[in-house]
């Protein structure tokens, strides 16, 4: 775990120095999931998947629209706009389906704190925040089998 964080730290440092933004997917430490496919991730944030396989309800943690992680979520992961995304989520609720639980939090730290209390929460945070005390206790999930520091990581 420590080695992973060290690698992440180095990668983050390198990415920042190179001017490249990188994002990590974090979950509650009690969450048994270790790796997600990109498609699964898109399904969770797109409101398609609303429950973890082990049971708990998926709670989406997002930042304000102007934050880098939200822009990355919209632009790179879901390939949509904020308004389209809101509309899509609203349509799910209007259809009578189980509504998507989504919490918009003010900062990366708050997001991490939040996730600590909610076992089914998942968030996309900047890899630079992983070293903060609030985020360090969360679990970083492999995307397509790769951690953020590894080559071929897709959330950059």
């Amino acid at each position: 775990m420590g080695r992973i964080l060290l690698t992440l730290g180095l990668l983050i440092g390198f990415s920042r120095a190179a001017g490249v933004a990188s994002f990590a997917v974090v979950v509650h430490p009690s969450n048994p999931i270790t790796s997600l496919r990109l498609r699964d991730l898109q399904a969770m944030f797109g409101g398609v998947t609303k429950q973890w396989e082990h049971g708990p309800k998926v709670v989406l943690i997002e930042r304000q629209p102007e934050s880098p992680s939200f822009r990355f979520l919209m632009g790179r992961l879901l390939n949509t706009s904020a308004s389209e995304y809101k509309r899509n989520l609203a349509s799910i609720e209007f259809k009578g389906e189980t509504p998507v639980t989504l919490k918009v939090l003010n900062s990366e730290a708050t997001a991490c704190k939040y996730m600590f209390y909610v076992p089914g929460a998942i968030a996309l945070v900047e890899t630079g925040s992983l070293s903060t005390p609030e985020c360090s206790q969360l679990k970083v999930v492999r995307i397509e089998g790769k951690l953020p520091a590894e080559d071929g990581y897709r959330l950059r």
């Binding site: 919490k103 003010n106 708050t110 939040y114 209390y117 076992p119 089914g120």
Partner: protein, 815 residues
């Protein structure tokens, strides 16, 4: 309490204290442990209050705050605070386990129910954060609140347990504290006792140390005194000045009393004179300096006199005589006094110091007196206490230097008593010694104080007279001395009269140094004595020459016999008919340096030097040998006369020597005539008679030589075994036909001799008139140059060959 008991008691108390301290310490330890437990329980209790309950309530409160709002961004800080409180609560439980392991079970129980509450709360929080506030509230009411209440109950139960335990601990601590108090009390008591005993022991030790210190001081003092004593004795042994030695001693006075001073008097003559003082006021020292104490005998001592004068001391100094010691020498004679002075109110002095001072002072003074005495004796005659030869020479040396510097004269007198030996022999040595002392006193009485009288030998005195202007002054002194000595001296029942012979030498005429002056004065004295004594004689260079000659004779005479320098000449004697009537052996000495020396010059010297014995033996043996040889040759040998000195006669073995010579040479004793002078005969008449009797027994004949010059007693002459009288040549020389005194004397001697049936020989017959007169007066035998001169043995032998036909007339005609 004995030393051993004290230490046993200390040991017992120490053991008791040790036990008490162990018990007390253990109790105290238990009490401390109890206190710690109590404290821990209290701490835990308070932690329950401050940590567990507070954190639990805080956690709950934060939860409620979060529950009251809906925005997760606002909820999260409260939830986070609540989570922190929960973490702290967990830590508090862990501390509780650690502090009170026995309460672990209760802690575990509490934690268990708290975990239940936490799980419920987390679920409620999750609902709340997910936005389902209603479900969260409902869930809290249904499950959260009961779980929290359960947890609180467990917490209160735990607290109650802790309080009970704290009370038990408190009671236990109270008991333990009581026990420890008792133990500590016993410990303190024992410790106090030990401290008291140790204090006492320390006090004793301090006292002992002080005593030891005092002893050390005494020892140091003793060592110091010993060093001082050694120092003083070293000074004494090195003959340091008396004042220096005594100063060293009086400076020891403060050791007897810090405020004491001392003074010492030492013997000089009949008085004790002040020597030194130390630590005394100047005015007192001056007063003491004036005190000359009478040197009385041992029993009274001088202290009585000091006692009388003691009254003056307080007036001058305020001091008192603390102690005084009269100092004695080994013979018990008073030789000094030591006085120690101290203030009246503090007059005690240490006796041992005083004794040492007195002893050292006595040693120093006695040594000095002894040294002075020895020095005096080294330079003075012990009998008369006059300077001896050594000191006299020194005085003369100094006097000569002064005289030389001031161009003055000095006279040296050599005085020898006439016939002093007779006084000694006849009246004994005691009288002789008294005479010498009286002579010394009279000599001093005749001289000035500055002049020196010395005794330089048995009966020899010398005088050094300064500032003599001329020999006449010396004559005056000599006359004065002779007059003084001529007065009879009373020694017991004897009245002794002595005369003296005095020789005088004058500086600078007669010598430049003491030795020369003394030798010349001695020579001059000798001449005075030679001329009969009771006279004085001034040295002259001519006298010196004769003495020089005498010295040469002395030197050459020693080896003369050994070198065969002596010869015998024989002078024939003739009877009235002119026929040969005898031979007189006459000694002749021919020396390579001195030439022919007259017997009149060397015989007295030989007698004085003790050589006459051997020379006389040689003469006797040579004469007898020649006579025997002539007899052996068939010649008619007349009597041979050999002169024997008084010294030979005094020697007791003359008879045996003569006998041995006669035996060895086989010369008939009846032909040997021994001639002895009248004066020699009369000087030792008894001893001479004894010798003559022995010789007479051998058959030897005797002739009295130089008859008429001595003081023969006619009555003794009658008893002497003498065969012949030889009239001294001085009478023969003055013979004349006018009937002078000498003619009368010669006639009387011839008549006397004939009346005693003795032959008469006239010596020194040099003229026909003398021969005729002697013949007319009936002289039996003549001897002189008119008839025969002394001649060597060879010529005598020729004469003897022709003797039967030889008469004086023939010889004269031959001559």
């Amino acid at each position: 309490m004995s030393y051993l008991r004290k230490h046993v008691l200390v040991a017992v108390l120490a053991l008791a204290a040790l036990l008490a301290s162990i018990l007390g310490t253990r109790s105290l330890q238990q009490a401390i442990t109890g206190c710690r437990d109590l404290y821990r329980v209290d701490t835990i209790g308070s932690q329950m209050e401050s940590d567990l309950e507070y954190q639990a309530q805080e956690s709950r409160r934060s939860f409620f705050y979060a529950l009251a709002i809906t925005d997760p961004n606002d909820q999260l800080p409260y939830l986070y605070e609540g989570h922190a409180a929960t973490v702290q609560l967990a830590e508090a439980i862990e501390r509780l386990r650690h502090l009170a392991p026995d309460m672990t079970g209760f802690a575990d129980q509490f934690e268990r129910v708290w975990r239940v509450y936490e799980r419920e709360r987390d679920e409620i929080v999750a609902r709340l954060l997910e936005g389902d506030t209603a479900a969260a509230i409902r869930l809290d009411q249904q499950r959260g609140q009961p779980a929290f209440a359960t947890a609180m109950r467990e917490l209160r139960a735990l607290k109650s347990r802790l309080e009970v335990r704290a009370r038990q601990e408190s009671l236990q601590v109270d008991q333990t504290l009581k026990r420890s108090a008792v133990g500590l009390g016993a410990f303190v008591l024992c410790t106090l006792l030990i401290v008291a005993l140790l204090s006492k022991a320390n006090h004793d030790r301090r006292v002992a140390l002080e005593s030891l210190h005092a002893n050390n001081l005494v020892l140091a003092e003793a060592r110091r005194m010993e060093q001082q004593r050694a120092s003083v004795l070293e000074m004494v042994s090195k003959h340091a000045s008396l004042s220096r030695t005594l100063t060293e001693i009086v400076e020891m006075a403060p050791q007897s009393n810090a405020r004491a001073g001392a003074a010492i008097w030492a013997a000089a003559g009949q008085f004790l004179h002040f020597q030194v003082a130390a630590n005394l006021p100047q005015e007192l020292t001056e007063v003491l300096r004036q005190l000359s104490l009478s040197r009385t005998d041992e029993t009274s001592g001088p202290s009585g006199e000091v006692e009388v004068r003691r009254s003056v001391l307080p007036r001058t100094s305020g001091l008192e005589v603390s102690e005084s010691r009269v100092l004695h020498d080994a013979g018990g004679r008073v030789i000094g006094m030591l006085q120690v002075f101290a203030p009246g109110q503090d007059a005690a002095v240490r006796a041992n110091v005083l004794d040492q001072m007195a002893h050292l002072a006595a040693v120093g003074i006695e040594n000095t007196l002894l040294y002075e005495r020895l020095a005096f004796q080294a330079q003075h005659d012990t009998l008369t206490e006059l300077p001896n030869r050594l000191l006299f020479q020194d005085r003369v040396q100094q006097a000569l230097q002064l005289a030389r510097r001031h161009r003055k004269k000095a006279a040296l007198l050599w005085i020898d008593l006439d016939r002093y030996k007779q006084i000694n022999d006849t009246l004994g040595h005691r009288v002789g010694d008294e005479v010498l002392c009286e002579v010394g006193r009279r000599l001093k009485g005749c001289l000035r104080e500055s002049d020196t009288v010395a005794r330089v030998g048995g009966d020899e005195f010398t005088v050094l007279a300064h500032d003599v202007n001329s020999p006449a002054d010396a004559d005056l002194v000599c006359s004065k001395i002779l007059t003084a000595l001529s007065r009879p001296m009373l020694s017991g029942e004897h009245a002794v009269t002595v005369t003296a012979s005095i020789g005088v030498s004058i500086f600078p005429e007669h010598g430049q140094d003491p030795i020369a002056l003394m030798r010349h004065a001695d020579l001059a004295m000798y001449m005075a004595k030679h001329h009969g004594g009771n006279a004085h004689n001034l040295f002259s260079p001519a006298l010196g020459d004769s003495m020089h000659k005498r010295l040469q004779i002395e030197q050459e005479l020693i080896a003369a016999l050994e070198h065969g320098e002596f010869t015998l000449h024989y002078q024939p004697l003739t009877d009235r008919t002119g026929r040969l009537a005898g031979l007189e052996a006459l000694l002749r000495w021919t020396n390579a340096t001195l030439g022919r020396v007259s017997p009149a010059d060397f015989i007295p010297i030989a007698e004085e030097m003790g050589l006459i014995q051997n020379i006389g033996d040689w003469v006797l043996r040579t004469a007898c040998d020649a006579g025997a040889r002539w007899l052996g040759a068939g010649l008619e040998v007349p009597n041979i006369a050999v002169n024997v000195s008084a010294v030979q006669f005094v020697a007791k073995d003359l008879a045996s020597i003569v006998k041995r010579v006669l035996t060895s040479t086989e010369f008939p004793a009846g032909k040997l005539v021994i001639e002895i002078t009248e004066s020699a005969l009369m000087n030792n008449i008894e001893q001479t008679l004894e010798q003559m009797a022995a010789l007479r027994d051998l058959g030897v004949r005797f002739a009295i030589d130089d008859f008429g010059t001595g003081y023969s007693s006619l009555s003794q002459l009658r008893n002497l075994p003498v065969d012949c009288l030889k009239i001294d040549r001085s009478f023969v020389k003055d013979l004349d036909s006018s009937g002078s005194g000498s003619t009368t004397l010669v006639r009387g001697i011839i008549g006397l001799a004939h009346s005693l049936d003795l032959e008469v020989v006239a010596e020194g017959v040099e003229t026909q008139e003398q021969l005729t007169l002697l013949g007319a007066m009936g002289c039996d035998i003549n001897q002189g140059f008119l008839l025969f001169k002394p001649m060597p043995a060879e010529e005598i032998e020729k004469l003897l060959v022709t003797q039967p036909d030889t008469r004086v007339d023939d010889v004269l005609s031959l001559a």
